[in-house]
Assembly symmetry: C2
Homo-oligomer: 456 residues x 2
């Protein structure tokens, strides 16, 4: 670990914070058309920051929606190349009345920086920028090659970057990607995320009668589209949550024994998870699988809602003609989204109740991603985190999806180091989003150290 | 059949129609606050019409919402008393753009009177008024005693009349009630409705996690309130639609053999019912039960909709914290609404999936009603209809509910002659509601003749 880098970061910590605050004050809400100008300003801020840090070939790349920002420094020919990714757009701040301080006026309370985007992802991507500045400042050069690609559509689906990555494979080619958009397992615990579940999101549309019918006049002889969906989807899982679609589990790759063992060694209280995070009367899911396994590496089937029929106040005796369910399946590593979709669609066709017609539409899908803990970049990142934070690094997974990681794997053929410094209670997408200031500096040091170590 | 009465009705048919049109032009939409004045005007119109017809003791009775109109004529001491019921309020006319002529400007096309309220129920209740006028005109007196109770809240739940009937049993006491708010089985077929299914309407509320959760982070371990309801309600019926709640069918009274035989003799095409009315790929329901039995005398369970979770456009990966299903059960004669509710609530409690908490709320409920075809009033009404229309009267039921009929049975202990002259395609509650003019006159004649015959 370079003491010089750490000293530089400590010395300049107040300025780093002021710069980050300036960045955060730009309300770059990508989903709201009225904030398009702010999103553009944020892109310019990123470009300026990358230039100021010492990077070259700065580009603000227009897209169909919000611009991408590119920069690189490629003067270490025998060294590896790291592709740094982040996003400068944020979620809307609603509900405003729940914020204790204004969402776009960064405010420090109890060592935390409260603001929309503080952790997701402005504060985290800014660590990458400040790590670069630090390395240039203390070494006059960089220990490896870096490319930056920063997007402004992460909170609205990320369509532009997906296209850009697919179309610019040579330009973005690297040995590994670095994404800081995840959390530490717990405060003070150096953490790398080594896997994400895949996701297939579908709509199942059911139709029964040609029009809504009166249940008094037709009830008993006419099919009901809402009940048809209920009858169908109710058969998709057994009481333990095991998915009953034939062949569904065939391709599922299990975590290896070492990974499972490391999950077992993580501090995790099922009681606390139930009481503080979930809040139901009990947890559910496959018996014999520990909770972290169920949410990190096991596939799921969820129904997110059913539209159709009558759901207002009071009573209406309608037999609905149509109904649509939102259904998603999280996928384990090695499951193919196309095949999982087809298994589900075939099962729906085979189990649709009499009198009901169903159709399954796939809205989106991407496979699970896993990186090996023995990959040199992952190994080095873990060592760097241990060096800076003074504890052995833990390897976790996330049950959610980070589509860009799949894009990097699919189009560039590279793994991603997912090293984030948020905390589980940072309140991403919620009022009073925060980023612990210490972790902003620790993260910047860790990333600088990872670059030093991976380039040496 | 009194030729004099029929002649009078024919002679005055043009005036009857003009009066009815005047009644219909009052937009007495009971659900809209801005039409409250119109509703009051319609009540006044009814009161004036009853007075002009020759009735006495006219009252406009204020209620918490819209007034009731009462009138009587009680000068036939040894004769039976008939309690005539109708309603002067109507449904809103939306969607306006689908009407071929203005909803409150009655217009004749192809022998039909098109307007909101033409069949439901202004035209039908006005037959009662004109039958009274006719009998006074041709006989100088009435052949029996009559009471009229006409409400203005039928389309908004009828709360006021239910209270009034319960509180004024002596005043409303009669031998039989007469309600013309149903249809002929087919045009030209004299029809009496002898039974209605009961209805219990419920909400089932399910809760799982304390708040909506991200399905990536919690999917596999957290219960899903929408899926919990699906899992639960999907078990309520077998693939044939038979309800699987223990004890549910125990109290069900079957129609007697004669009634069943008469239903079998009705002109009914299952193919036509499927193609023209239901429009699904096939009909559903209990095997071995004919369609008319399934919709008229068999109990049902329907889910009208599920609120909760995400049902908008696109994809949102939420594990819903709460969900509410609207569930109703149509009841066969002899089933008790309180008991059916309890059986359902107990079944829900016993079958609620792990991690889900459920609560069943009863929104409304009323038992089925049946009248015996051998009751003197029913028998006489059937004879009167046969005399006027020249064909044997058919006895049908309706799978829907007419709460006032249950109120009369419960509070006054009397059966109801349900003799309506609408047609199945009159479009009640829909744009271009109509009432066939011939049936307005035929109905008036039939009702006058029923009074003559029942009073002789």
């Amino acid at each position: 670990m370079s003491q010089a880098a750490n000293d530089y970061i400590r010395t300049h910590s107040a300025r780093f914070l002021e710069e980050l605050k300036e960045f955060i004050r730009i309300p770059s809400i990508s989903t709201l058309p009225e904030n398009a100008g702010d999103v553009a300003r944020a892109a310019q801020f990123v470009a300026d920051s990358l230039k100021a840090a010492g990077l070259e070939n700065i580009e603000i790349i227009p897209t169909e929606r919000h611009p991408l920002v590119y920069a690189d420094w490629l003067h270490a020919p025998s060294k590896p190349t790291v592709l740094c990714y982040g996003h400068y757009d944020v979620q809307p701040p609603d509900p405003l009345e729940l914020w204790l301080s204004p969402p776009f006026e960064p405010t420090i309370r109890d060592g935390n920086l409260y603001a929309r985007g503080s952790a997701d992802d402005k504060g985290q991507m800014y660590m990458h920028v400040k790590a670069i500045e630090t390395l240039f400042a203390v070494h006059g050069t960089l220990p490896l090659n870096v490319k930056f690609i920063v997007e402004g559509e992460e909170e609205v689906g990320g369509a532009s970057i997906t296209k850009y990555v697919a179309a610019n494979q040579a330009k973005l080619q690297a040995d590994v990607a670095l994404v800081s958009d995840t959390s530490l397992y717990a405060d003070g615990v150096p953490t790398l995320c080594t896997g994400l579940r895949g996701l297939v999101y579908m709509e199942v549309e059911a139709s029964g009668p040609a029009r809504d019918l009166h249940s008094g006049l037709y009830g008993g002889a006419a099919p009901n589209a809402v009940y048809g969906l209920i009858e169908l989807l109710g058969k998709a899982k057994d009481a333990d949550g095991r998915i009953l679609i034939p062949g569904f589990y065939d391709a599922v790759a299990e975590p290896d024994a070492a990974e499972l063992a490391s999950w077992k060694s993580l501090p995790f209280s099922e009681e606390e998870f139930l009481a503080k995070e979930v809040g139901s009367s009990c947890l559910t899911g496959e018996p014999g699988r520990m909770v972290l396994e169920r949410v990190w590496s096991r596939p799921t089937l969820e129904v997110h809602g059913i539209a159709g029929g009558f759901t207002g106040a009071g009573a209406k005796t309608v037999i609905p003609a149509t109904a649509t369910a939102k259904v998603s399946m999280r996928m384990a590593p090695n499951q193919d989204p196309g095949q999982v979709y087809q298994l589900f669609a075939d099962w729906v066709a085979a189990h649709t109740p009499a009198g009901i017609h169903t159709q399954v539409r796939r809205l989106s899908g991407g496979p699970a991603v896993v990186v090996s803990t023995s990959h040199p970049a992952i190994h080095t990142a873990a060592e760097a985190a241990k060096d800076v934070m003074g504890r052995e690094c833990v390897f976790i997974r996330s049950g959610g999806s980070v589509p860009i990681v799949g894009d990097f794997a699919a189009h560039l053929g590279i793994p991603t180091v997912m090293m984030g410094f948020g905390l589980p209670d940072d309140g991403l997408h919620s009022p009073n989003e925060k980023f612990k200031l210490d972790n902003f500096y620790t993260g910047t040091m860790t990333i600088a150290h990872f670059f030093e170590k991976y380039g040496c």
